[in-house]
């Protein structure tokens, strides 16, 4: 069993067949330990989104091996039958926009995922409350998303990503719409949450404000990863 939260070995993704085949990912190798926050950078078209989609189990790689939370989920085919449950239980997602559900209040937005996973409502809400307190938005627990500031909404979306205590969080440009102060605040929260819940976090970013904050960065160019340690 892998001690890494995320381990990719020779991951490849090819779109199309024969002469029309395009290698979006060629030979991606990556190891991320529990509690680590790692940046993923690269120009447009380099394969970042494809890699994130493979890690998020929404597209199937073509070859290689992928381990999430110590469990092999891909090796010459999916090793897990229920990918929907895998995404719900093992992977948290944070997006550029918070995508909170407008007709649910803040607590229910966070509690929704554990409820979908079968956690009793009272326990799911208690877990949501604990996360909202940790992220300093507990005072907005009964508010609707439209009543929150951009920074507060993003903190709620971080709480939602953590709600099922996943070993892995994929953050797709989470600071892009925020100003410098709020972007640094979100990065501080991600580091704190990764350490507190031992969650490995991959942050895909173009945001130059936050790039210096990563201890480790994977650069992806032409479908291949190059680790740029700092």
């Amino acid at each position: 069993m892998s001690t890494y939260s995320i381990q990719l070995e020779g991951l490849r993704k090819t779109y199309g067949h024969g002469d029309a085949a395009v290698d979006a990912l060629k030979n991606v190798n990556m190891q991320i330990a529990p509690g680590e926050v790692v940046g993923l950078i690269g120009p447009s078209g380099s394969g970042k989104s494809t890699l994130l989609k493979c890690l998020g189990a929404v597209i199937e790689p073509t070859a290689g091996r992928m381990t999430l939370g110590g469990e092999v989920i891909y090796e010459n085919g999916w090793k897990i039958k229920d990918l929907r449950a895998l995404r719900r239980d093992k992977i948290g997602f944070i997006f550029q926009a918070p995508y909170l559900i407008p007709f649910l209040n803040v607590t229910d937005n966070v509690a929704l995922l554990p409820m979908l996973a079968g956690v009793p409502n009272n326990i799911a809400r208690a877990r949501a409350k604990e996360l909202l307190e940790a992220l300093d938005v507990a005072h907005r627990a009964n508010a609707n998303p439209s009543e929150l500031s951009g920074g507060e909404q993003q903190r709620v979306s971080i709480a939602r990503a953590l709600a099922n205590r996943p070993p892995v969080i994929l953050a797709d440009e989470p600071t892009a719409p925020l100003d410098s102060e709020r972007a640094l605040g979100v990065m501080g929260i991600l580091n704190q949450m990764a350490s507190q819940y031992q969650t490995a976090i991959i942050v895909v970013t173009h945001d130059e404000k936050i790039i210096p904050l990563f201890k480790r960065i994977y650069a992806i160019r032409d479908g291949q990863t190059i680790e740029e340690s700092r």
């Binding site: 447009s44 929907r84 995404r87 719900r88 997602f93 997006f95 995508y99 559900i101 895909v204």
Partner: protein, 86 residues
């Protein structure tokens, strides 16, 4: 986004159906209340029995449920990968 984070299709369908029925209920209440209070302002009356209101309510709910199937079908066809990247 709901599909990406692992929501069952049945849950998504149920959420859309609930919203459609909720909107139908609000529409019916507003319509029925308006009709009751404004009817005397019109020169000719149409006599509505209580059973007509019940039938009207059932029809509104059925129409909303049928209409929601279009939205449910569209939502269930969305690829969860669309929520990631560009």
């Amino acid at each position: 986004m709901l599909k990406l984070i692992g929501t069952q299709n049945s849950t998504i369908a149920s959420m859309i159906l609930q919203q459609a029925l909720g909107l139908g209920l609000i529409g019916f209440i507003v319509g029925k209340t308006s009709a009751t209070f404004w009817a005397p302002l019109f020169p000719k009356y149409v006599l509505l029995e209580p059973i007509d209101a019940v039938i009207g309510f059932i029809l509104v709910m059925v129409i909303c449920a049928l209409a929601s199937t279009l939205a449910i079908r569209t939502a269930l066809l969305v690829d969860p990968a669309q929520a990631i990247g560009g």
